[in-house]
């Protein structure tokens, strides 16, 4: 845990780019950098929310305990802010965040974050834009989840990983079969079966956690109609 100058930071958020000297100093005085290993919890549902988190490096899952099971609301990849809605929207976290790979984050004191919002309209503006984009993405995720059958949901998420997270058709799943089930809201058994079937049909190649997309066209078709 260290407290470096934010001015010198090379991985500033788009919002933080707009901060001027004394604002960056305020940020620096109210922010600490912390590293997490896979599996470690960044913040927890039902706990008091007192920090905004800037995800510098790494990948996390956002999970919410629902009435029946826990659900992965979405994956978030650096760089981005985490927990703005859950921290600004209520006193208590409505969801948890857990690292999926070695991850570095800055914990920003809520008071300081609010001060920055009030000091610098450009900063606020960028936060608003990020919130808006998130909400749109969330709407689409919800519609996909509810309307598509499981093949479709699986396809959507495999494509998301390939295109948005890893920028490659070949990658290691950052999730266990159980977590993958929580992400697409089904059972572990069904995930197993579906992955095998996609493999047998020559659409993807599965080797444990290693995935290679073969027939991306077909996968996109499934993601739309399945």
């Amino acid at each position: 845990m260290e407290n470096r100058s934010c001015s010198a930071c090379l991985i500033k958020s788009k919002a933080a780019e707009s901060l001027i000297d004394n604002e960056l100093e305020l940020l620096g005085q109210n922010c600490v950098e912390v590293a997490f290993e896979r599996g470690e919890t960044l913040f927890k549902q039902d706990a008091l929310s007192s920090n905004i988190i800037y995800l510098q490096k790494g990948l996390v899952k956002i999970i919410m305990q629902g009435p029946q099971r826990k659900q992965i609301l979405r994956l978030k990849k650096a760089p981005c802010y985490l927990g703005v809605p859950t921290t600004m929207g209520d006193k208590i976290n409505h969801y948890s965040a857990v690292a999926l790979e070695p991850t570095t984050v800055c914990f920003i004191d809520l008071g300081a974050f609010k001060s920055l919002l009030r000091l610098n309209t450009e900063f606020s503006y960028e936060i608003i834009v990020e919130l808006c984009k998130n909400e749109l993405e969330q709407f689409h995720r919800c519609v996909t989840l509810v309307q598509n059958q499981i093949f479709g949901r699986l396809a959507v998420n495999l494509l998301y990983m390939a295109n948005t997270i890893y920028h490659s058709g070949e990658f290691d799943l950052p999730l266990s079969r159980n977590e993958l089930a929580d992400l697409i809201c089904t059972s572990r058994e069904t995930v197993s079966r579906m992955l095998s079937e996609l493999d047998q049909d020559g659409i993807i190649e599965v080797n444990g956690k290693h995935i290679r997309l073969i027939d991306t066209k077909k996968l996109e078709e499934i993601s739309k109609n399945g």
Copy 2:
């Protein structure tokens, strides 16, 4: 369609409360009041988004055309802003809004809205808080939708109407059976059956569109476990 002074407006949003004289004037010059009847569309998915809408009076449904069917993402009751995410987050609307009862809104020019965000940090701040609360609500809706069975979803939405929209255990459904199906993501037939069953079990009383909650305790139980 008229263009009144916003300073004199008695139903200003919490955000607009923070505007000062010349900012209110800017708002007034870039905003028109429009009335809609039930069934009329306020803005449409896939159209260019060029206005932020302030819902002064009334009730609307937010709908998104999904891969299989159209889905009611949520109901929004005045007073609130509509279309901030879809207007600030992309050039094109990702969803539509349709009036469910006689409704009055202000169309605010996007440019002017952005100017206000940049002029007044208190205004921005209130918008951020509203966005955050919406996102939390949306997360919960999504989890409910995915994890609960249809009885549970129906119960959640009946309770929402009673508690949040009408503040009464007795109300007229603002939706047809088909729309109710779009809201809880099921088929019209299933909605019919479930409503009849809840009526037969003495939990609610159904008379066409008129609903009276009888056993609220039981309904809450169903909303959690069903």
